[in-house]
Symmetry: C2
Subunit: 170 residues, 2 copies
């Protein structure tokens, strides 16, 4: 559903009649538009600086954290990439020499994907760049505000987690 060329600002074209949104809706539209703006920027930089896509980066990030490798189903869950797409992504990264699929000792029925040394090296470079991009993107924001935002958005997240529909307690 997301387009690379997306330029519209969701917040300016918000849902309700102009200027009548409730505070929670206004905050939500601002969170959404800010997240989309930054995501689009990160996609652009990954593409121009590494020729990589965001799903590739996310997938490599998960493999980086698991030295023993991950089964494709688990990788799909952790990256929010669908099962079918994970297979395609892994095959592509395998062709490029950044990922290998191996059968761990003791269980021949299982295949896990792991980063190759070249894949690890590439991911470390991408992660360092990603960190720098975020510092750049947030350069005008006071460090104290970055810390307080982290904690306040944590309160929003906790509230959302407490009010999910379809939970065991509803």
């Amino acid at each position: 559903m997301e387009s690379e060329a997306a330029s519209a600002d969701l917040e300016l074209i918000g849902h309700g009649p102009h200027g009548k949104n409730k505070p929670e809706t206004r905050l939500w539209l601002r969170m959404l538009s800010t997240t989309k703006l930054i995501t689009t920027e990160i996609r652009r930089r990954l593409r121009t600086e590494f020729g990589a896509t965001l799903p590739q980066f996310d997938l490599m990030a998960q493999l980086y954290r698991e030295a023993d490798g991950l089964r494709l189903g688990e990788l799909s869950k952790r990256t929010m990439v669908t099962n079918g797409n994970v297979t395609g992504l892994v095959e592509r990264l395998e062709t490029d020499g950044f990922v290998q699929r191996v059968t761990p000792d003791g269980d021949r029925r299982v295949t896990v994907a792991k980063l190759t040394p070249a894949g690890t090296e590439l991911f470390v470079a991408m992660a360092a760049a990603h960190e720098g991009w975020l510092r750049d993107i947030m350069a005008d924001v006071d460090p104290a505000m970055i810390a307080s935002l982290w904690s306040e958005i944590g309160a929003v997240k906790a509230s959302a987690s407490n009010h999910l529909s379809g939970s065991a307690f509803e």
Copy 2:
């Protein structure tokens, strides 16, 4: 790339080695995971309460704001749904009686999509529900914090806008 069944918390499976992310990266991962959590919840409620999808809701929201209707290309830009998908969405909503395509007087080459009265009625109900869901989702957050978050996230958004790569001034 997003899966409905997504349950992984991006923040817990962050990019860098455990606990070593820089403040901007930590904030970004928290923004991203919170936005995904709330988006997933809104998708779920749209589906269970209205049998609707998020792209349908977004598309109807844009048509609701434009009484004269919108051309499909413009609708695609405003919703960040690709052109091809917008056509499919509009056709589906037309079949259901919520959208009509009309040729405005004076320009027979142009077709615009508009909400029907039934579509307007449905969207008003969905928008009211959406507002209520957000109030519910953020119920544990202090109203003063909702206001300050709105303003602080605005600072992040402004900073991001100022540091986009590929702008005319770079």
